[in-house]
């Protein structure tokens, strides 16, 4: 357990920093940002025999899944970033940058066992309205492994209207850094419990991608994509979110709330972290699960122009607050969750965690987070050291991967 009492000096430092942050934007004091325990576990393989008891124990350590999901509709946002036809070398996508299907299946199974009424697996896959079942087949997954993991499991592609009659509007309670509200697929409202199952990775634009950054993909590209309709959402998603979200050189469809301040910086390293926090404010995560059993170093996917490598940190962690979970995740990656812009992994971007903390979503201060299960130091996989070594040399030439 890593819960520490604060000294008066620490308290003063934190409250003064928080006061400064309050002047700069939508902010609560750091001390006021809520905390929540995070369960950490060693897990070396995706074999069900190992994974299932590990995840069951983690959920028990968080108070049990029954309290959270019994009789409820659960929506699970997974991470299927990039095209399913794009691998890091010959490695399966789930061993590098996709949430592993076994983790999804075990989570669904345990939720079903705990009494979930309905489980909906959500993702907005790249530039397509095709069913998720079809999308994952292209990644070589068997969707039935997930659909059969519990009763009433279904997929929905949330990159467009999908099964809904209209888009739902979710408002950012603190007003938002970039967007005051988002128009989303109905699935993000038609649920009692929202779960983010993410992959533990670095991220080119946002430094790291964990449970919060995973929610970047809840935005439908029919409204927030490069092919979005100008006035109304397009019927099908086309293109990515770069023009609307990363670069801000166009607004979402006029039917959706525009960004708050078109005069704000247009840099992706400013906008993406803020938009991620806004999305987490609008659609809070009830259960954050991050798996780093196998993953990759160097970025969020094989298209990143860095020295990339598949790695096996052998760790999985979960929490009831996305910010505290991601703070522990950063520590597990060898990074300081208190890091700010200019410090790894936020050398050139703002810290999503800091912004989230200042918005009052959760604390990133490890001294305020109870870590249960395997101690961080026993399962830390030093992404930070690999990053430092990698960045000491020039990146490799770009290959032709797809």
């Amino acid at each position: 357990m890593q819960c520490h009492r604060q000294t008066r000096r620490e308290w003063l430092l934190k409250t003064s920093a928080a006061a400064g942050a309050w002047l700069a934007g939508p902010s609560l004091t750091r001390a006021a940002a809520p905390t929540s325990r995070v369960a950490v576990a060693r897990c070396r393989t995706y074999d069900q025999a190992e994974l299932l008891p590990v995840m069951q124990k983690m959920f028990d350590q968080l108070g049990g899944l029954g309290k959270l999901v019994k009789g409820k509709t659960v929506a699970i946002k997974i991470n299927l970033t990039g095209s399913p036809t794009y691998r890091l070398g010959y490695l399966p996508l789930e061993d590098t940058h996709y949430t592993h299907p076994q983790v999804i299946a075990v989570a669904a199974h345990l939720m079903g066992k705990a009494g979930a009424r309905r489980i909906r697996i959500l993702e907005s896959p790249m530039s397509t309205a095709e069913p998720i079942e079809e999308y994952v087949l292209c990644a070589n997954w068997e969707p039935r492994d997930i659909l059969g993991a519990a009763p009433n499991v279904e997929f929905e592609n949330t990159n467009y209207l999908g099964q809904g009659k209209k888009y739902v509007r979710l408002t950012v309670p603190y007003g938002g850094y970039t967007f005051p509200a988002f128009d989303l697929n109905h699935s993000y409202q038609d649920c009692d419990v929202f779960v983010s199952i993410a992959k533990m990775k670095e991220h080119f634009t946002a430094g790291i991608t964990l449970s919060m950054k995973n929610c970047f993909g809840i935005t439908p590209c029919t409204i927030y994509g490069s092919g979005a309709g100008i006035d109304e959402p397009s019927a099908t998603p086309k293109g990515g979110r770069t023009p609307v979200v990363h670069a801000g050189n166009r607004q979402p469809s006029k039917s959706a709330p525009p960004e708050k301040d078109p005069a704000s910086p247009r840099q992706d390293t400013y906008r993406v972290p803020r938009t991620v926090v806004d999305l987490n404010g609008a659609r809070p995560v009830h259960l954050a699960i991050v798996e780093g059993i196998k993953t990759m170093t160097g970025g969020e996917g094989p298209w990143i122009h860095e020295e990339l490598a598949g790695v096996a940190p052998g760790v999985i962690f979960a929490g009831l607050n996305a910010v505290t979970t991601d703070a522990v995740g950063m520590a597990l990656m060898g990074f300081d969750p208190m890091a700010d812009r200019g410090t790894p992994p936020f050398e050139r971007c703002d810290s999503t965690l800091k912004l989230a903390e200042e918005a009052g979503l959760g604390t990133r201060d490890l001294s305020r987070i109870e870590v249960i299960g395997t101690p961080i130091k026993e399962v830390r996989f030093d992404f930070a050291a690999i990053r430092k070594k990698r960045r000491a040399v020039a990146p490799p030439p770009i290959g032709v991967r797809g």
Partner: protein
């Protein structure tokens, strides 16, 4: 019986008959020579050298000529800028579908593709490889047509001509050495039924083109003939005309036996509606199979091609690529079904560096050939359930996977 020539268009600037000697020892055995009298000595010299001489205005017996596109990733008006389709995937021009249609219409004929480079084009050596392989993989032959700059450089014996000409020669020799592959039958999941003519010509032909681009392996089924549906999972009928009673019965037998029909019309009411995986179609159960009826008349072959892939399901993809880029494949099996050749075409400016290909079927061995290498080293094959996954090292833009059951 198919003529088995490898044709080359004689560059009009080559007036010296001795230039025929350049073709000695290559797989090129047929010259397409313009009609002018000034080329009469060339024609004579070619015949003396044992080459067949042809005229496109009156192709040789047994040859069907189709007008094609220059194959490859389409570039935009700005030099070197790649054009992309609505999904962001590079737009690829290929003549494979046209060859397959021509072979279905004239099974005894050899299909030549007439797609010369643009007048001012300067073609890279590997683009010649793609141009030739894009036809030969599908059992046709591209009429080798040198760009003007290369023809002039060869005429002047300039060193810059060596690399592209060597590429042309080795590619011609490769396919000339594998004539037997043309006897292999295409493996498909979808049969496209049409007369491919008249009012249906644009839609049906473009559909074949776009299905290939979407990676769906299809069989061309001519409406005038009984449909060979063996091994297929689905049929697609989008012609304007209603189904004839005979064709309707054939299709109904196929559907009731467990197949899928994708169409915009069905002459009888359908009652047992099922959820459809795409918005543009309604799905109905019929016997052991299903009929997917489009909600709108067929006007957009792009939408139909992409919907077809989902209606049939990626579960039944015969070939899947990873890291293949702008790739296409043509899966053929030997008459005894003990061997298969899967032709892989990578249309980017160079071949992939770490591609993986999943091939449906139970195979125990694979030999990977390119025009540079009869047996590529460093290939790994992994057995999967009812499939194999083949990891390729850096390869050129055309690869032949020779699989043994």
């Amino acid at each position: 019986m198919e003529a088995q020539w490898t044709p080359m268009r004689w560059p009009s600037a080559w007036k010296d008959p001795n230039a025929v000697n350049l073709l000695q020892g290559t797989g090129i055995d047929c010259l397409v020579i313009g009609a002018g009298d000034d080329l009469a000595p060339v024609r004579s010299r070619a015949r003396e050298a044992g080459l067949h001489v042809a005229d496109l205005a009156a192709p040789p017996a047994g040859v069907a000529v189709v007008k094609g596109e220059w194959p490859g990733v389409k570039t935009g008006r700005n030099e070197g800028q790649t054009q992309t389709g609505p999904t962001g995937v590079p737009w690829v021009d290929s003549n494979g579908w046209a060859i397959r249609l021509a072979r279905a219409e004239q099974p005894e004929a050899q299909v030549w593709v007439d797609a010369p480079p643009a007048a001012n084009a300067v073609i890279a050596a590997d683009s010649y490889l793609i141009a030739m392989a894009d036809s030969a993989a599908y059992g046709g032959r591209w009429i080798i047509s040198l760009d003007n700059a290369l023809a002039a450089a060869m005429d002047a014996q300039k060193p810059e001509a060596e690399k592209p000409w060597a590429r042309v020669k080795e590619t011609a020799a490769f396919f000339a050495a594998h004539q037997a592959w043309r006897e292999y039958a295409p493996f498909a999941v979808l049969g496209v039924i049409s007369d491919f003519s008249g009012a249906n010509e644009f839609f049906s032909r473009e559909l074949l083109n776009l299905l290939a681009r979407a990676g769906q392996h299809c069989r061309v089924l001519l409406k005038r003939e009984p449909c060979a549906t063996d091994g297929l999972r689905a049929l697609l009928y989008a012609d304007a005309e209603p189904l004839t009673p005979a064709l309707r019965k054939q299709i109904l037998d196929f559907v009731e036996g467990g197949g899928l029909l994708i169409t915009h019309q069905w002459p009888a009411p359908l009652e047992r509606e099922l959820p459809a995986p795409v918005d543009g179609f309604s799905m109905f159960a019929v016997g052991k199979g299903k009929i997917a009826i489009s909600k709108e008349p067929p006007t957009d072959p792009y939408a139909w091609a992409n919907d077809s892939v989902i209606l049939v399901s990626h579960r039944y993809d015969l070939v899947r690529f990873w890291n293949g880029g702008a790739a296409a494949s043509y899966y053929t099996v030997s008459p005894d079904r003990r061997r298969a050749v899967v032709h892989l075409l990578f249309y980017s400016y160079r071949g992939p560096d770490a591609a993986t290909v999943r091939i449906v079927g139970r195979y125990r061995a694979v030999r990977v050939a390119t025009v540079d290498s009869p047996q590529v080293a460093g290939v790994q094959m992994e057995a999967r359930k009812d499939a194999v996954e083949i990891h390729l090292p850096q390869v050129s833009q055309y690869v032949a996977l020779q699989l043994e059951a």
